[in-house]
């Protein structure tokens, strides 16, 4: 991911206090994939920014080689001034006791359009559901709340919003709450 894509992401460099395991995890990712950016390595928190084309490969590597086995959360963040939407997968591990405290944030970005047509515009990402089944409902929520369509997800229906919701996805920044 190019440096302009990550202007919003933390610039704090806490690598001096991060443990050796944190560093070795991030090193093994950056060694394997050349176009992956390690945004930060804080104690027990690592963030990796990838291009959307690479996300399935990187996620499979994180699952099979680094032993992260489930997703804790999937959050979508809207950056209208960059014309991008970012999706962050927070991955954790139950099976590997050395990774108990670690959360690996895997982030990617997709273009956003000013007049969203969820599912029918360029705001799309490959789904990680085949890699981590636990993201299934989180991705459905992300689709309805931010309009990010997940290619390869078999069930991109609404989850929380009403069936007759006709406005834009509500967690986009240009959706304003009345009176605020």
């Amino acid at each position: 991911m190019s440096s302009t894509d990550s202007t919003e992401i933390a610039k704090t460099d806490d690598s001096s206090v991060a443990s050796d395991l944190d560093k070795s995890l991030s090193d093994s990712i950056s060694k394997k994939f050349s176009n992956v950016e390690i945004a930060y390595v804080k104690p027990d928190r690592i963030r990796v920014n990838v291009k959307k084309e690479d996300i399935i490969d990187v996620a499979s590597f994180i699952r099979d080689e680094l032993n992260f086995d489930h997703a804790e959360s999937v959050s979508g963040v809207d950056y209208p001034e960059d014309k991008q939407i970012e999706v962050v997968y927070h991955l954790g591990s139950y099976t590997d006791t050395s990774l108990d405290k670690k959360i690996l944030a895997l982030a990617t970005r997709t273009p956003r359009e000013d007049n969203p047509r969820p599912g029918n515009d360029s705001t799309k990402l490959p789904s990680l559901r085949d890699v981590f089944p636990s993201v299934s409902f989180h991705e459905r929520e992300c689709f309805e709340m931010l309009g990010v369509y997940f290619d390869g997800h078999p069930d991109n229906r609404r989850l929380l919003l009403p069936e007759d919701w006709a406005d834009m996805p509500p967690l986009r920044k240009d959706f304003r709450i009345k009176g605020r």
Partner: protein, 384 residues
């Protein structure tokens, strides 16, 4: 790795795919008004007596907490963020306060850390008692509805003394707790908690050792260890399937590292194990409360003074705690504003919801309540 849960060949877990349905199958809507579904709808397809397809449909109590949080500053976010689970309001505010403290660089006073632990554990018991009461009435056991609701009052009284409110406490604030406890609180708390623990032991006679409960819940809705990990379940659901994972032990926050307690793990993974784990957790909560009362500094400040409308830096945090239902995480993206740029609440009920179609598909319809509520699911929290 020996305990590899992802085999190399791709497989789809049952209940997670969309199936074609033929004529002999009947669709059944459970909820959203049915008292047994609790503000959510489960669309069930049955073939005779057997459930062949389950589609949970949450969202009937969606309040847009995450959107609301983007419009309010870090302090005024507190009272509305606890609304998704008012019975567990301290635990849902806990990761938020930890996250904001990390953003603002606040150091919590020692006494406040202990008060937080006591309030969080009391709240956990209040939540579990309420959940247990509903589980009892789901299974037609009205004594198990009355007892927990009555015993819950003991702890609600304590929280009332501590915070001034019976259920919506808004007690945790970034930098400590809102106020100190009244002078004789320690004695009253110790007495009530000891009595409460005595009452808990009686639940075994009437409920957990009851042959009717055992026959209804044993071997129904079995979630294997591998599937529990794959589906990313958390809390009592995960620990009932044999995975020892409790955030209080694995990633201790505040003073949980010094507390004397153990995590409860069962291997069976059925509804009975899932319903037993929260009850066992309440004994540990009592231990933690007694331990915290003993180790707590007897005086001192409980809150650091904050500037009005404090601003976070240009960074993000992800903090999680163990709530009454499981791991509760908050992802706060800050961009130097007095309010969060984005707040994602990752709630355990939502994470455990994915196990519902997996467990109900293939079960008999009559087992639905026993399986559904054993997931320790709180619909209002899942919707946020």
């Amino acid at each position: 790795m020996s305990n590899q849960v992802y085999p190399k060949d791709k497989e789809i877990l049952p209940g997670l795919q969309i199936e074609k349905v033929d004529d002999r199958i009947m669709t059944l809507n459970v909820g959203p008004q049915h008292p047994g579904s609790g503000h959510m709808r489960i669309i069930i397809k049955v073939d005779g007596d057997y459930i062949v397809h389950t589609d949970p449909d949450p969202g009937y109590v969606h309040r847009g907490e995450e959107k609301m949080a983007e419009y309010r500053n870090y302090i005024t976010n507190i009272p509305h963020l606890e609304r998704p689970v008012i019975h567990d309001s301290c635990n849902i505010l806990y990761p938020y306060c930890l996250g904001v403290e990390e953003l603002l660089g606040l150091e919590v006073p020692e006494r406040a850390k202990y008060l937080r632990v006591i309030a969080a554990e009391l709240n956990r018991c209040v939540y579990i008692e309420y959940w247990l009461a509903i589980y009892g009435i789901f299974l037609g056991h009205s004594t198990m509805f009355m007892w927990p609701v009555g015993d819950r009052e003991l702890l609600i009284d304590l929280l009332d003394k501590m915070t001034g409110a019976r259920v919506t406490h808004a007690y945790f604030v970034p930098g400590g707790v809102r106020n100190d406890v009244p002078p004789n609180f320690e004695d009253v708390c110790l007495r009530q908690v000891n009595y409460f623990e005595k009452r808990l032991k009686e639940y075994a006679d009437v409920f957990y050792d009851n042959p009717i409960l055992i026959s209804r819940t044993k071997d129904t809705g079995v979630l294997s260890r591998e599937d529990a990990i794959k589906l990313g379940t958390t809390g009592s659901v995960l620990r009932a399937s044999g995975v020892d994972f409790d955030i209080r032990k694995k990633e201790p926050y505040d003073v949980y590292e010094e507390m004397d307690f153990q995590t409860n793990v069962l291997k069976a993974g059925d509804s009975y194990a899932r319903s037993k784990i929260p009850w066992l957790d309440m004994f540990e909560s009592c231990r933690i409360i007694r331990d915290a009362l003993k180790k707590m500094p007897k005086s001192g400040s409980v809150r650091v003074k904050l500037k009005p409308k404090p601003k976070g830096g240009d960074t993000e945090v992800y903090r999680r705690v163990e709530s009454g239902r499981g791991s509760l995480g908050m992802h706060i993206v800050s961009r130097g504003l007095p309010q969060p740029y984005r707040l994602k609440i990752s709630v355990p009920s939502f994470r455990n919801l994915i196990a519902m179609p997996h467990l109900l598909t293939g079960e008999k319809l009559g087992n639905m309540p026993a399986v559904y509520w054993s997931l320790n699911y709180w619909p209002v929290e899942a919707d946020r």
